[in-house]
């Protein structure tokens, strides 16, 4: 028994073919889906990479592992999935392009080999050129950041550079594929985590994918757009409906590119029935829905829903409607490996469980980082200063907000979450039930809080990569 876990950063299920999307974004994933179990209602625990990956690796919720800020690393006492497997004699390797899923935050814990691929040109280059680049870039950035027009230009240049360099995804996929091929020749079971981030900003798909989703006029227009998501939130970058549609097409091209890379990993994993292959995303991406952009400050389904496909020797191929969470991968893999999920507690449930009964599915966004709005001098970010927690139960979704703005959606009838029923008369009793459920859930989480996250020291290349990905504004 071996396990390959592929995480597709920022990929929303409603832009994936086997989930009903019609633009042919994911041929490889769709072919895989034909032989796999597809979970139609999979929910992530965290809406950005750090909390979400920490949840996947530990089986804990963000309230428990506390990795809600980019200055915290995994607490010393937390045991990760690869750690458990390595202790049981497995070979473990991780491949990631996202610093928030990497060594800086101690999410490499338990991997005997961990390979980080920074896609930012210059960030991982030594020599004079790299040094010069690292010197110029932040100075340039600081000079331009007060001006929205210059920010847009800087992001544009960054995209162009990333396009020209092809990013790091191709190198990552090849390295992971080679490792998996070697590991398959070995007698020992293995666990490989492959975290691809082609669909993260700056969107820079390989040219042939771009051409499939945007015609020449569209490519010209999308290249000229301001891609600054924080600017969009702050009202400094007013993108219209057509602009958003173009960005959506560009996003599709990135998914298509990621799917090509996924194909290389799946080829390497082969169709050995004894290898469990899981494909999911750490979170979705907001593309203007609810007037939101990027993957912060919200827990709407544009972020909370993720694709989840599992080729598992004991699960029949097909579609499962039962709601599940990506943290559920943790007990599922341990159980498949014949290991006890162990001490500690989480709400994670093995994906093999047949029961439809699950108390509640939860997505959290905690400790909003308002310093990302600092460059907008006249913008008051107070409306974004709230913690959010979405609870899903019985086809309904309740959003708790620390500032008291509750929301309630019938996500079966209104999957776009367009009609907030919190104020509606029939929302009353449901609202009360959800409040109780929320309280109980918090009490249980608190009781099992894993607590003391460690501090983070940022290396210069990691900091440069994070900046290029749009963090630290």
């Amino acid at each position: 028994m071996s396990v390959v876990l592929v995480v597709l950063d920022c990929v929303r299920p409603d832009h994936v073919g086997c989930y009903g999307y019609q633009r042919g974004t994911t041929p490889n994933l769709d072919a895989f889906a034909a032989t796999a179990t597809r979970f139609d209602n999979a929910i992530t625990a965290g809406v950005w990479t750090l909390p979400s990956m920490a949840s996947m690796m530990t089986g804990l919720y963000p309230s428990q592992h506390c990795l809600n800020r980019a200055d915290r690393a995994l607490g010393r006492d937390l045991v990760t999935l690869p750690q458990r497997l390595a202790e049981a004699g497995w070979r473990t390797a991780g491949f990631t392009a996202n610093p928030h899923g990497g060594r800086t935050f101690q999410l490499d814990r338990g991997f005997q080999e961990f390979h980080e691929f920074w896609g930012v040109p210059g960030a991982d280059h030594g020599g004079l050129l790299g040094r010069g680049y690292r010197w110029v870039r932040p100075r340039l950035r600081d000079a331009v950041k007060r001006s929205q027009a210059l920010t847009a230009t800087a992001i544009r240049l960054q995209r162009r550079r990333a396009e020209a360099s092809g990013g790091s995804g191709s190198r990552l996929a090849d390295a992971a594929a080679a490792w998996i091929r070697r590991a398959r020749g070995d007698q020992r079971p293995f666990f490989a985590l492959v975290h691809l981030m082609e669909s993260h900003v700056p969107y820079a798909p390989a040219r042939e994918h771009l051409q499939r989703f945007l015609d020449e006029a569209g490519r010209r227009r999308v290249a000229k757009l301001d891609h600054d998501g924080m600017g969009y939130l702050a009202g400094a970058n007013p993108l219209g409906g057509d602009d958003l549609a173009l960005i959506g097409s560009l996003y599709d091209a990135t998914i298509s590119y990621g799917d090509e890379l996924l194909g290389r990993v799946l080829d390497a994993a082969g169709d050995d029935p004894d290898t469990l292959v899981a494909i999911t995303a750490d979170h979705g991406q907001q593309l203007g829905e609810h007037r939101m952009m990027g993957h912060f400050f919200s827990v709407y389904d544009t972020l909370a829903r993720v694709p989840l496909l599992l080729r598992h020797p004991e699960l029949p191929a097909g579609v499962v409607q039962r709601p599940v969470q990506s943290v559920d991968l943790h007990p599922t893999v341990l159980e498949t490996a014949g290991l006890d999920p162990g001490p500690g507690w989480s709400c994670a449930v093995s994906l093999r469980a047949r029961s439809d009964h699950r108390p509640v599915l939860v997505t959290e966004y905690l400790e909003p980082d308002l310093t990302r709005f600092a460059r907008f001098r006249d913008f008051d970010p107070a409306p974004f200063d709230r913690e959010l927690r979405a609870l899903r139960h019985d086809g309904w979704k309740y959003i708790w907000s620390s500032d008291g703005r509750e929301e309630l959606y019938d996500v079966t009838g209104d999957p776009g979450e367009t009609r907030d029923l919190a104020g509606a008369a029939d929302g009353g009793e449901r609202l009360r039930d959800f409040r109780l459920l929320h309280e109980e859930w918090q009490v249980e989480m608190q009781r099992h809080a894993a607590g003391d996250a460690a501090d983070v020291a940022l290396e210069a290349d990691v900091a440069a990569t994070l900046r290029a990905l749009g963090y630290f504004d």
Binding site: D71, R139, S355, T371, A374, S402, G404, R447, A463, F472
Partner: protein, 501 residues
Amino acid sequence: MERRYRARRRLGSCCSGTARGGRAILGSGGVPTTATTGTRGRRARRVALIGLDCGTPELLFERYADDMPTLGRLRRQALWGSLESTAPPLSIPAWLSMLTGRTPGELGVYGFRNRTDHGYGGLAFATSRWVRVPRVWDLLGQAGRDSVLIGVPGTYPPSPLRGSMVTCFMTPSTDAQFTFPADLREEVQRVTGGYTIDVAGFRSEDKARVAQQIFDMTEQRFALARHLATTRPWDFLAVADMGPDRLHHGFWGACDPGHPRYRPGNAYEHVVRDYYRALDRHLAGLLEVLPDDTTVAIASDHGARPMLGGFCLNEWLVREGLLVLAEPPAGPTPIGKAAIDWSRTTAWGDGGFYGRLFLNVEGREPLGTVPRRDYESVREHIASRIERLPDPVGRPLGNRVLRPGELYPEVRGAAPDLIVYFGDLRWRAVGSLGLGHGLYTSENDTGPDDANHSEQGVLVLAGEGLSHGRQEGLSIYDVAPTLQALLGLPAAAGQRGRVLG
């Protein structure tokens, strides 16, 4: 309450079908509500902590001692004295330290607002989420016993506890969730007739409004404490009132002939005395409803002293050539909004009751200019310049410069490189630029303010088995281990301080 427990069973029955089962969690009852013996052979008791934010020994023990007969009676049967606060003596780190037994360095909290990383993004408010070590009520809850918390600084956003919580002055408004459990909100609103989180805009010239709100808030806080103390089960009751702090900031100058703003015969000359008389009556009302076996602790996070003026820290750094602006400020500009030429800046500061100085370090800050090998020498150079600064008439200002690495056993988060007490906290640090009146100001950049914080708060601890009389050398770090010992809980790993007795 009843509803809560009913709901817990419901969630439990759901979880018990899971792979791991909810049994272990949900069957953790059976711990007696009152443990029989505590550490040091004491009988575990109930403890009521009455927090007076900014409670000052010179006022409570001396100047207004005769106006506070209840406190006086309690003191005669108590261990009491000045309580040395945290460095820096600010509500948020101090209350967190008092109730965790950890230093600000270990908590990574150096003020209300803190840097979240070494970027230039400015400061973020420290909230309850920043606290990653157990507080007294967490430890008590783990032992299966209940707490009631009202207004304890550092509790917003509310986190679940065994018991009830009304959050602190950092709560944005009563529209936010400010209680745990959430449905306690209606009851709080009903009992108080609309809960006042804090005196809105207490740095105001509208003194009549501010005074009225301070009196009302304190009355309300104690009324709520009486209500919850008598309607909820508890082993630990903690109520903290911001009234004294707001009063000292707003009215010290009206009452103290030694204060530069003092005008004899002003309308508010006796407002502080009147407040402490009222506070004493509220205190009596609360003590009266506490069960006889309760140990009572009255504590403050820090004290106050008259503020003589403000020193413009960033203005000074600009004059010294250590802070370089890309363009001069058009008018009064907070440092976070100023156009700074980071690539030529050595250091910048943030204002408040104390000054925080940050060095722009190569490889740490995005545009760092101070090479790491020069860090110590640059820092010491700036520190010695600050220590030698004169006051407006040329006498030594008496600044104290502290280094986090020397203050705390561990320095977490993005700490200031230097902590500066201007005039040993008689002067405030002004962070804004472009105020246009040189380095010294009698006005405060964030509104009129008469008082600064001092490092000495108060502690009065009365209960069975405790010694009586004044004690010297009491530290804020002693409070958590002492409360825990009184409650029959052991000290937690990593806690500082000693058990008082």
